[in-house]
Amino acid sequence: MESLEQIKARAEAAVPGAKIDIVPNPGPSHQSSLLIDNEHAPAVARFLRIDPALRLDFCSNATGVDWLDRTVKKTVKVKKVIDGVEKEVDETQAEFFPGYLEAVYHLYSMTHKHGPVIIRTRTADRADGARLPSLTPTWRSAEFQEREIFDLYGIRFDGHPDLRRILMWDEFVDHPMRKDYREPDDYEYEPTPHDDVLERAKQHYTARPQLDGAENITAQK
């Protein structure tokens, strides 16, 4: 199979205006992926499927990823004039990265027996902008999995034929796989709590009555 760079170059040539980035994966699997811009994602998906050299006709998996807002603190050496003398001073700068959600698709080719090619699309933010183009028109097998992503991560897929919740009930409003999700508090009976559960169970504890030892003396008599 071609390298990701080759696929990226050919896809960008085939779909005018498409912008594809390679997201490297430094882990042992080396499964780097292609980040496709939202506007051209359906056309690029179509290309990946019908291109005779690739023929990625099987979407084996579609899933979501939640990336929270993060602030990275960096220490930078800055030249400053202090008391008329120029000095190099360490200064801490905080850089803010807004959070977003991603949909990740794992593609294989049944025709050529190769894969996976991993593609991902990224939302603008984690609130109202959590919209992505649906790739179900290209890969029918993504239909239920995009519904699951919608259910658990809250990404709305434009162009999906039947976008409803699939695991949780329709009245449910939360998205449980988001990292800031807090499950409802039903920790009133936890006989062996530990870690996070202990912290939540403690709110339900009734204080043990304070004993002064006198009741033991009467019991001994």
């Binding site: 949780m168 449910f172 939360d174 449980p176 009976y189 009734t206 204080a207 043990r208």
Partner: protein
Amino acid sequence: MADQIDEGLRSELQRQGIWVTSMEELYNWGRRNSIWPLQFGLACCAIEMIATAASRYDLARFGGEIFRPSPRQADLMIVAGTVTKKMAPQIVRLYNQMPDPKYVISMGACAISGGPFKQGYNVLKGIDRYIPVDVYIPGCPPRPEALLHAFMELQRKIDEQKLTGNKKAEHLNAAQPSEFPVPAFGEHDLEPPANPDVFRPLKLERQ
């Protein structure tokens, strides 16, 4: 009445072919040897329940082989497996549709407390939050022998039920509810998250 007749006289009569018994004993004997379970399974515990009903373990020896596909004909609900919050209202509804007297076996860690999924967002932390449970079987999943043991415990429980008097069985008390409110799907959780009339956990006193 069985306790009012001398045990020696009774066995003597039995040897002569005369069987002396009481209405209560006869009634409970009939009930406990023909417990028809409701045929449904929720997770891997159901596989063990199926094995229990099959030839090797043979639940038929205890009169429980007739799994009914309708709650109207069932005496026993074996909650075998993980009860998700989406499934819980259906379980309560099935229980409500069963005729009295009815019994519940909570089979396996999930049905007791949520088990390995206890802290998940989608699993009910024990079916006893909504319906009364007669016998709990720990295990993940419990072996068929454990289910047989629970079945025998239930038979013992039925055998001890009184038909009259102050301590008569709960299903004979007209004031005792035989149906319980079905929880509704809420925005964040089931509404209510537990039925306080049924679910009374031990109060944990901790520092």
